[in-house]
Amino acid sequence: MSKLKVAFFDFAGCEGCQLQIANLEEGLLSILDHIEIVNFREVMKEKADDYELAFVEGFITRPSDAERLKAIRKQAKTLVALGTCACIGGINALKNFQNQEYLKRYVYGQTARWYETYEARPLKAIVPVDFEIPGCPIDRNELVSFLICLLQGKRPQIPDYPVCVECKRQGHLCVLLKGEPCLGPVTRAGCKAACVAEGSHCWGCRGLISEPNVDAQREALAKLGLSFDSIISLFRLYDGCSDYAR
Protein backbone atom coordinates (compact mmCIF):
# COMPACT_ATOMS: atom_id res chain seq x y z
CA MET A 1 0.00 0.00 0.00
CA SER A 2 1.50 3.33 -0.98
CA LYS A 3 2.34 5.87 1.66
CA LEU A 4 0.35 9.06 2.11
CA LYS A 5 1.87 11.84 0.01
CA VAL A 6 2.57 14.91 2.14
CA ALA A 7 3.79 18.42 1.28
CA PHE A 8 4.95 21.37 3.39
CA PHE A 9 4.54 24.94 2.23
CA ASP A 10 5.25 28.30 3.82
CA PHE A 11 4.08 31.85 3.25
CA ALA A 12 4.92 34.91 5.36
CA GLY A 13 6.39 33.78 8.64
CA CYS A 14 9.48 32.81 10.55
CA GLU A 15 9.68 29.15 9.40
CA GLY A 16 9.80 28.16 13.07
CA CYS A 17 6.92 25.74 12.71
CA GLN A 18 8.53 23.90 9.80
CA LEU A 19 11.73 23.75 11.85
CA GLN A 20 9.86 21.66 14.43
CA ILE A 21 9.73 18.87 11.85
CA ALA A 22 13.53 18.79 11.74
CA ASN A 23 13.42 19.03 15.54
CA LEU A 24 11.61 15.70 15.68
CA GLU A 25 15.18 14.36 15.39
CA GLU A 26 15.26 10.56 15.19
CA GLY A 27 11.44 10.58 15.40
CA LEU A 28 11.31 11.96 11.88
CA LEU A 29 12.74 8.70 10.56
CA SER A 30 9.88 6.64 12.04
CA ILE A 31 7.37 9.05 10.59
CA LEU A 32 8.94 8.59 7.17
CA ASP A 33 8.04 4.90 7.41
CA HIS A 34 4.42 5.96 7.10
CA ILE A 35 4.36 9.06 4.90
CA GLU A 36 6.16 10.16 1.78
CA ILE A 37 7.20 13.81 1.72
CA VAL A 38 6.95 14.93 -1.92
CA ASN A 39 7.41 18.66 -1.54
CA PHE A 40 9.25 20.51 1.25
CA ARG A 41 11.22 23.44 -0.09
CA GLU A 42 13.38 23.98 3.01
CA VAL A 43 14.65 20.41 3.16
CA MET A 44 14.27 18.86 -0.30
CA LYS A 45 15.24 19.68 -3.88
CA GLU A 46 12.53 17.47 -5.38
CA LYS A 47 9.15 19.07 -5.93
CA ALA A 48 6.12 17.02 -6.85
CA ASP A 49 2.57 18.26 -7.19
CA ASP A 50 0.68 15.06 -6.42
CA TYR A 51 0.40 15.65 -2.67
CA GLU A 52 -2.75 14.62 -0.80
CA LEU A 53 -1.99 16.24 2.56
CA ALA A 54 -0.58 19.76 2.68
CA PHE A 55 0.76 21.48 5.78
CA VAL A 56 0.92 25.23 5.31
CA GLU A 57 2.82 27.57 7.60
CA GLY A 58 2.65 31.35 7.59
CA PHE A 59 0.03 34.02 7.09
CA ILE A 60 -1.18 35.77 3.94
CA THR A 61 -0.21 39.39 3.49
CA ARG A 62 -0.17 40.06 -0.26
CA PRO A 63 -2.35 39.19 -3.27
CA SER A 64 0.27 36.99 -4.97
CA ASP A 65 0.43 34.75 -1.88
CA ALA A 66 -3.36 34.39 -1.88
CA GLU A 67 -3.13 33.02 -5.44
CA ARG A 68 -0.40 30.56 -4.52
CA LEU A 69 -2.49 29.35 -1.57
CA LYS A 70 -5.52 28.81 -3.78
CA ALA A 71 -3.43 26.57 -6.06
CA ILE A 72 -2.35 24.48 -3.06
CA ARG A 73 -5.97 24.19 -1.85
CA LYS A 74 -6.99 22.96 -5.29
CA GLN A 75 -4.44 20.16 -5.25
CA ALA A 76 -4.59 19.01 -1.63
CA LYS A 77 -7.34 16.72 -0.40
CA THR A 78 -6.56 17.84 3.15
CA LEU A 79 -5.12 21.25 4.03
CA VAL A 80 -3.76 21.82 7.52
CA ALA A 81 -2.91 25.27 8.85
CA LEU A 82 0.41 24.77 10.67
CA GLY A 83 1.13 27.21 13.45
CA THR A 84 -0.51 30.33 14.79
CA CYS A 85 0.24 32.53 11.76
CA ALA A 86 -1.61 30.14 9.46
CA CYS A 87 -4.44 29.48 11.93
CA ILE A 88 -5.28 32.94 13.20
CA GLY A 89 -2.84 35.42 11.66
CA GLY A 90 -0.41 35.42 14.55
CA ILE A 91 1.63 38.25 15.96
CA ASN A 92 1.75 39.87 12.54
CA ALA A 93 -1.82 41.09 12.90
CA LEU A 94 -0.26 43.83 15.04
CA LYS A 95 0.38 45.70 11.82
CA ASN A 96 -3.28 45.65 10.89
CA PHE A 97 -4.03 48.47 13.30
CA GLN A 98 -2.03 50.91 11.20
CA ASN A 99 -2.64 52.26 7.72
CA GLN A 100 -0.81 49.88 5.36
CA GLU A 101 0.44 52.56 2.96
CA TYR A 102 1.75 54.69 5.83
CA LEU A 103 3.41 51.61 7.31
CA LYS A 104 5.22 50.86 4.03
CA ARG A 105 6.62 54.39 3.89
CA TYR A 106 7.47 54.38 7.62
CA VAL A 107 9.52 51.21 7.28
CA TYR A 108 10.90 51.43 3.77
CA GLY A 109 10.86 55.14 2.94
CA GLN A 110 11.72 55.79 -0.70
CA THR A 111 11.64 52.11 -1.66
CA ALA A 112 8.13 51.56 -0.28
CA ARG A 113 6.68 51.25 -3.77
CA TRP A 114 8.60 48.00 -4.31
CA TYR A 115 6.64 46.13 -1.64
CA GLU A 116 3.16 44.77 -2.02
CA THR A 117 1.27 44.24 1.21
CA TYR A 118 -2.17 44.23 2.78
CA GLU A 119 -3.50 43.42 6.23
CA ALA A 120 -2.20 40.16 7.70
CA ARG A 121 -4.78 37.40 7.59
CA PRO A 122 -4.90 33.67 8.34
CA LEU A 123 -5.24 31.01 5.66
CA LYS A 124 -8.95 30.56 6.32
CA ALA A 125 -9.61 34.09 5.15
CA ILE A 126 -8.62 32.94 1.64
CA VAL A 127 -9.46 29.22 1.38
CA PRO A 128 -11.33 26.62 3.47
CA VAL A 129 -8.97 24.93 5.91
CA ASP A 130 -9.59 21.36 7.04
CA PHE A 131 -7.59 21.30 10.29
CA GLU A 132 -5.60 23.68 12.44
CA ILE A 133 -2.54 23.04 14.58
CA PRO A 134 -1.95 26.30 16.49
CA GLY A 135 1.04 27.39 18.54
CA CYS A 136 3.93 29.78 18.16
CA PRO A 137 5.76 27.57 17.51
CA ILE A 138 3.70 24.39 17.27
CA ASP A 139 4.23 21.66 19.82
CA ARG A 140 5.82 18.94 17.73
CA ASN A 141 4.17 16.21 19.79
CA GLU A 142 0.82 17.67 18.83
CA LEU A 143 1.85 17.42 15.17
CA VAL A 144 2.83 13.77 15.62
CA SER A 145 -0.46 12.92 17.39
CA PHE A 146 -2.28 14.69 14.60
CA LEU A 147 -0.52 12.63 11.91
CA ILE A 148 -1.11 9.38 13.78
CA CYS A 149 -4.85 10.15 13.98
CA LEU A 150 -5.04 10.99 10.32
CA LEU A 151 -3.13 7.88 9.27
CA GLN A 152 -5.47 5.74 11.39
CA GLY A 153 -8.49 7.26 9.68
CA LYS A 154 -9.58 9.04 12.87
CA ARG A 155 -10.57 12.68 13.01
CA PRO A 156 -7.76 14.64 14.74
CA GLN A 157 -8.93 16.94 17.50
CA ILE A 158 -7.22 19.71 19.39
CA PRO A 159 -8.32 20.80 22.87
CA ASP A 160 -11.08 23.36 23.22
CA TYR A 161 -10.48 24.08 26.91
CA PRO A 162 -8.25 26.79 28.40
CA VAL A 163 -4.54 26.56 29.12
CA CYS A 164 -5.47 26.80 32.83
CA VAL A 165 -6.53 23.15 32.79
CA GLU A 166 -3.05 21.97 31.72
CA CYS A 167 -1.36 24.57 33.90
CA LYS A 168 -3.16 23.53 37.07
CA ARG A 169 -2.62 19.87 36.22
CA GLN A 170 1.10 20.56 36.46
CA GLY A 171 0.67 22.27 39.80
CA HIS A 172 1.87 25.73 38.81
CA LEU A 173 1.04 28.69 41.02
CA CYS A 174 -1.49 30.79 39.10
CA VAL A 175 0.29 33.64 37.37
CA LEU A 176 -2.71 35.97 37.78
CA LEU A 177 -2.64 35.35 41.52
CA LYS A 178 1.03 36.34 41.47
CA GLY A 179 -0.06 39.69 40.05
CA GLU A 180 1.10 39.18 36.48
CA PRO A 181 -1.05 39.36 33.36
CA CYS A 182 -1.89 36.00 31.79
CA LEU A 183 -4.22 35.02 28.96
CA GLY A 184 -4.43 31.36 29.99
CA PRO A 185 -8.15 31.45 30.90
CA VAL A 186 -9.20 32.27 27.32
CA THR A 187 -6.42 30.57 25.35
CA ARG A 188 -6.58 27.14 23.75
CA ALA A 189 -4.69 24.40 25.60
CA GLY A 190 -2.46 21.81 23.96
CA CYS A 191 0.90 23.42 24.76
CA LYS A 192 1.07 21.97 28.30
CA ALA A 193 1.30 25.58 29.55
CA ALA A 194 4.86 25.68 28.21
CA CYS A 195 5.39 29.37 28.87
CA VAL A 196 4.22 29.28 32.48
CA ALA A 197 6.39 26.20 33.01
CA GLU A 198 9.44 28.19 31.91
CA GLY A 199 8.76 31.12 34.23
CA SER A 200 6.70 33.36 31.96
CA HIS A 201 2.96 33.78 31.49
CA CYS A 202 0.52 32.73 28.79
CA TRP A 203 0.74 35.21 25.92
CA GLY A 204 -2.23 33.66 24.11
CA CYS A 205 -0.30 32.32 21.13
CA ARG A 206 -2.62 29.39 20.45
CA GLY A 207 -5.61 31.63 19.95
CA LEU A 208 -8.92 31.82 21.76
CA ILE A 209 -11.04 28.80 22.64
CA SER A 210 -14.39 28.69 20.87
CA GLU A 211 -16.33 30.23 23.78
CA PRO A 212 -13.82 32.38 25.68
CA ASN A 213 -15.02 34.19 28.79
CA VAL A 214 -13.46 37.42 27.66
CA ASP A 215 -15.40 39.59 30.12
CA ALA A 216 -14.06 37.64 33.10
CA GLN A 217 -10.55 37.72 31.61
CA ARG A 218 -10.78 41.50 31.20
CA GLU A 219 -11.97 41.85 34.79
CA ALA A 220 -9.10 39.71 36.08
CA LEU A 221 -6.60 41.86 34.18
CA ALA A 222 -8.24 45.09 35.34
CA LYS A 223 -7.93 43.90 38.95
CA LEU A 224 -4.15 43.72 38.40
CA GLY A 225 -4.23 47.39 37.51
CA LEU A 226 -4.17 47.12 33.73
CA SER A 227 -5.89 49.96 31.94
CA PHE A 228 -8.54 49.41 29.26
CA ASP A 229 -5.94 50.18 26.57
CA SER A 230 -3.42 47.76 28.07
CA ILE A 231 -5.97 44.98 28.07
CA ILE A 232 -6.88 45.51 24.43
CA SER A 233 -3.18 45.73 23.67
CA LEU A 234 -2.62 42.32 25.26
CA PHE A 235 -5.36 40.78 23.10
CA ARG A 236 -3.84 42.30 19.97
CA LEU A 237 -0.63 40.35 20.37
CA TYR A 238 -2.04 37.09 18.96
CA ASP A 239 -5.79 37.59 18.75
CA GLY A 240 -5.45 40.62 16.50
CA CYS A 241 -7.82 39.17 13.91
CA SER A 242 -10.53 38.48 16.47
CA ASP A 243 -13.34 40.79 17.61
CA TYR A 244 -11.79 41.17 21.05
CA ALA A 245 -8.81 43.12 19.76
CA ARG A 246 -10.82 46.10 18.58
Partner: protein, 220 residues
Protein backbone atom coordinates in the same frame (compact mmCIF):
# COMPACT_ATOMS: atom_id res chain seq x y z
CA UNK B 1 33.58 33.40 -22.70
CA UNK B 2 31.60 31.00 -24.90
CA UNK B 3 28.95 32.58 -27.09
CA UNK B 4 26.10 30.67 -25.49
CA UNK B 5 22.51 31.40 -24.64
CA UNK B 6 21.68 30.47 -21.08
CA UNK B 7 18.39 31.07 -19.35
CA UNK B 8 17.97 30.09 -15.70
CA UNK B 9 14.92 30.86 -13.62
CA UNK B 10 14.69 29.16 -10.27
CA UNK B 11 11.50 29.97 -8.40
CA UNK B 12 12.00 29.58 -4.64
CA UNK B 13 15.46 28.10 -4.07
CA UNK B 14 15.33 24.88 -2.17
CA UNK B 15 17.28 23.97 0.93
CA UNK B 16 17.74 27.55 2.06
CA UNK B 17 15.94 29.42 4.78
CA UNK B 18 13.57 31.99 3.29
CA UNK B 19 12.24 32.65 -0.20
CA UNK B 20 14.47 33.70 -3.08
CA UNK B 21 14.71 33.29 -6.85
CA UNK B 22 17.70 33.12 -9.16
CA UNK B 23 17.33 34.64 -12.63
CA UNK B 24 20.18 34.50 -15.13
CA UNK B 25 19.88 35.47 -18.78
CA UNK B 26 22.90 35.15 -21.00
CA UNK B 27 22.56 35.95 -24.68
CA UNK B 28 25.34 35.05 -27.08
CA UNK B 29 27.85 35.00 -24.24
CA UNK B 30 26.72 38.36 -22.84
CA UNK B 31 25.23 38.54 -19.35
CA UNK B 32 22.00 40.45 -19.70
CA UNK B 33 20.55 39.68 -16.28
CA UNK B 34 22.02 38.11 -13.18
CA UNK B 35 19.72 38.54 -10.22
CA UNK B 36 19.09 37.06 -6.84
CA UNK B 37 15.52 38.15 -6.11
CA UNK B 38 14.36 38.24 -2.51
CA UNK B 39 10.69 37.38 -2.72
CA UNK B 40 10.12 36.92 0.98
CA UNK B 41 6.85 38.58 2.02
CA UNK B 42 7.69 41.64 4.12
CA UNK B 43 6.13 41.56 7.58
CA UNK B 44 6.97 45.08 8.84
CA UNK B 45 8.30 44.29 12.32
CA UNK B 46 9.52 47.88 12.65
CA UNK B 47 5.86 48.86 12.40
CA UNK B 48 4.54 46.03 14.56
CA UNK B 49 6.50 47.18 17.61
CA UNK B 50 5.29 50.78 17.50
CA UNK B 51 3.33 51.64 20.61
CA UNK B 52 4.07 48.32 22.33
CA UNK B 53 5.43 47.99 25.85
CA UNK B 54 9.14 47.78 26.60
CA UNK B 55 8.81 44.34 28.18
CA UNK B 56 7.15 42.85 25.10
CA UNK B 57 9.81 43.85 22.56
CA UNK B 58 11.90 40.72 22.76
CA UNK B 59 8.82 38.51 22.59
CA UNK B 60 7.63 40.19 19.39
CA UNK B 61 10.95 40.42 17.54
CA UNK B 62 11.75 36.83 18.46
CA UNK B 63 9.20 35.97 15.76
CA UNK B 64 11.38 37.50 13.07
CA UNK B 65 13.01 34.11 12.68
CA UNK B 66 12.30 30.62 14.00
CA UNK B 67 15.87 29.39 13.60
CA UNK B 68 17.67 32.33 15.20
CA UNK B 69 15.00 33.54 17.59
CA UNK B 70 17.44 33.56 20.53
CA UNK B 71 19.73 35.99 18.72
CA UNK B 72 16.83 38.36 18.06
CA UNK B 73 15.73 38.13 21.68
CA UNK B 74 19.20 38.89 23.07
CA UNK B 75 19.75 41.80 20.68
CA UNK B 76 16.36 43.26 21.60
CA UNK B 77 16.86 42.82 25.36
CA UNK B 78 20.28 44.46 25.20
CA UNK B 79 18.85 47.37 23.22
CA UNK B 80 16.03 47.89 25.71
CA UNK B 81 18.44 47.59 28.65
CA UNK B 82 20.79 50.14 27.10
CA UNK B 83 17.90 52.51 26.44
CA UNK B 84 16.67 52.25 30.02
CA UNK B 85 20.03 52.12 31.75
CA UNK B 86 19.47 48.62 33.12
CA UNK B 87 22.59 46.60 33.86
CA UNK B 88 22.55 42.83 34.14
CA UNK B 89 24.48 40.41 36.31
CA UNK B 90 27.43 38.35 35.14
CA UNK B 91 25.22 35.30 35.53
CA UNK B 92 22.70 36.69 33.06
CA UNK B 93 25.45 37.52 30.57
CA UNK B 94 26.87 34.01 30.82
CA UNK B 95 23.48 32.34 30.49
CA UNK B 96 22.72 34.48 27.44
CA UNK B 97 26.03 33.52 25.86
CA UNK B 98 25.28 29.85 26.53
CA UNK B 99 21.88 30.24 24.90
CA UNK B 100 23.48 31.89 21.87
CA UNK B 101 26.09 29.12 21.63
CA UNK B 102 23.36 26.49 21.74
CA UNK B 103 21.53 28.29 18.97
CA UNK B 104 24.67 28.64 16.85
CA UNK B 105 25.31 24.94 17.22
CA UNK B 106 21.72 24.11 16.21
CA UNK B 107 21.71 26.52 13.30
CA UNK B 108 25.10 25.47 11.92
CA UNK B 109 24.25 21.77 12.20
CA UNK B 110 20.94 22.38 10.45
CA UNK B 111 22.79 24.18 7.69
CA UNK B 112 25.65 21.80 7.05
CA UNK B 113 23.78 18.62 7.91
CA UNK B 114 20.34 19.14 6.43
CA UNK B 115 20.83 21.85 3.83
CA UNK B 116 24.35 21.43 2.43
CA UNK B 117 25.29 17.75 2.90
CA UNK B 118 22.75 16.57 0.29
CA UNK B 119 24.54 18.67 -2.35
CA UNK B 120 27.89 17.14 -1.46
CA UNK B 121 26.40 13.66 -1.80
CA UNK B 122 24.50 14.40 -5.00
CA UNK B 123 21.14 13.92 -3.27
CA UNK B 124 17.97 15.99 -3.22
CA UNK B 125 17.73 15.84 0.57
CA UNK B 126 19.09 13.92 3.54
CA UNK B 127 15.97 11.74 3.67
CA UNK B 128 17.42 8.94 1.46
CA UNK B 129 20.33 8.64 3.90
CA UNK B 130 17.93 6.78 6.19
CA UNK B 131 18.33 3.85 3.78
CA UNK B 132 21.85 4.29 2.41
CA UNK B 133 23.95 5.90 5.16
CA UNK B 134 21.94 5.56 8.33
CA UNK B 135 24.99 5.87 10.61
CA UNK B 136 26.04 9.23 9.17
CA UNK B 137 22.45 10.49 9.30
CA UNK B 138 22.10 9.51 12.96
CA UNK B 139 25.40 11.28 13.67
CA UNK B 140 24.02 14.56 12.30
CA UNK B 141 20.67 14.10 14.02
CA UNK B 142 22.29 13.19 17.35
CA UNK B 143 24.36 16.38 17.42
CA UNK B 144 21.37 18.45 16.28
CA UNK B 145 19.37 16.99 19.16
CA UNK B 146 22.13 17.82 21.63
CA UNK B 147 22.10 21.46 20.49
CA UNK B 148 18.32 21.61 20.90
CA UNK B 149 18.45 20.02 24.34
CA UNK B 150 21.04 22.60 25.36
CA UNK B 151 18.62 25.34 24.21
CA UNK B 152 15.81 23.66 26.15
CA UNK B 153 17.90 23.68 29.32
CA UNK B 154 19.22 27.24 29.15
CA UNK B 155 16.50 29.14 27.29
CA UNK B 156 13.36 27.06 27.83
CA UNK B 157 13.05 25.78 24.27
CA UNK B 158 14.75 26.12 20.91
CA UNK B 159 12.27 28.32 19.08
CA UNK B 160 10.87 31.50 20.67
CA UNK B 161 12.08 30.56 24.16
CA UNK B 162 10.56 32.02 27.26
CA UNK B 163 13.34 32.23 29.83
CA UNK B 164 15.13 35.28 28.43
CA UNK B 165 13.59 38.39 29.93
CA UNK B 166 14.57 41.97 30.62
CA UNK B 167 17.42 42.15 33.09
CA UNK B 168 17.37 38.50 34.09
CA UNK B 169 16.26 34.95 33.27
CA UNK B 170 12.73 33.89 34.18
CA UNK B 171 13.99 30.46 35.25
CA UNK B 172 17.51 29.22 35.87
CA UNK B 173 18.97 25.84 34.95
CA UNK B 174 19.90 23.77 37.99
CA UNK B 175 23.58 23.24 38.76
CA UNK B 176 23.18 19.47 38.43
CA UNK B 177 21.62 19.90 34.98
CA UNK B 178 24.51 22.12 33.87
CA UNK B 179 27.07 19.60 35.08
CA UNK B 180 25.35 16.88 33.03
CA UNK B 181 25.21 19.18 30.02
CA UNK B 182 28.92 19.94 30.27
CA UNK B 183 29.70 16.22 30.36
CA UNK B 184 27.46 15.54 27.34
CA UNK B 185 29.14 18.34 25.40
CA UNK B 186 32.59 16.96 26.25
CA UNK B 187 31.52 13.50 25.13
CA UNK B 188 30.18 14.90 21.87
CA UNK B 189 33.60 16.16 20.76
CA UNK B 190 34.60 12.86 19.10
CA UNK B 191 31.27 12.93 17.25
CA UNK B 192 32.01 16.42 15.99
CA UNK B 193 35.43 15.20 14.85
CA UNK B 194 33.74 12.38 12.96
CA UNK B 195 31.44 14.91 11.30
CA UNK B 196 34.43 17.08 10.38
CA UNK B 197 36.16 14.07 8.82
CA UNK B 198 33.01 13.28 6.84
CA UNK B 199 33.02 16.76 5.37
CA UNK B 200 36.75 16.61 4.77
CA UNK B 201 36.23 13.46 2.72
CA UNK B 202 33.68 15.33 0.57
CA UNK B 203 35.82 18.44 0.17
CA UNK B 204 36.39 17.84 -3.54
CA UNK B 205 32.65 18.19 -4.14
CA UNK B 206 32.67 21.83 -3.05
CA UNK B 207 32.89 23.91 -6.25
CA UNK B 208 36.06 26.00 -6.61
CA UNK B 209 34.67 29.47 -6.01
CA UNK B 210 36.69 32.19 -4.37
CA UNK B 211 36.24 35.90 -4.22
CA UNK B 212 37.83 38.64 -2.19
CA UNK B 213 35.88 38.75 1.03
CA UNK B 214 35.99 40.96 4.09
CA UNK B 215 35.13 39.04 7.23
CA UNK B 216 33.67 41.20 9.99
CA UNK B 217 32.74 40.09 13.47
CA UNK B 218 31.27 42.08 16.32
CA UNK B 219 32.38 41.28 19.79
CA UNK B 220 29.59 40.96 22.31
Amino acid sequence: MEKRDISIHIEHLTRVEGHGNIVINISNGNIEKCEWQVTEAPRFFEGMVRGRYFNEMHHIVSRICGICSIAHQVASLRATEAAMGISVSTQTVRLRKLALHAENMQSHLLHIGYLVLPDLLGLGSILPLAQTNKEELLLVIGLHRLANEMSDLIAGRTTHPQRLILGDFAKYPKEGELIILKERLKQSLPMFEKLAHLFKSLWAKIPPFERETEYIALNI
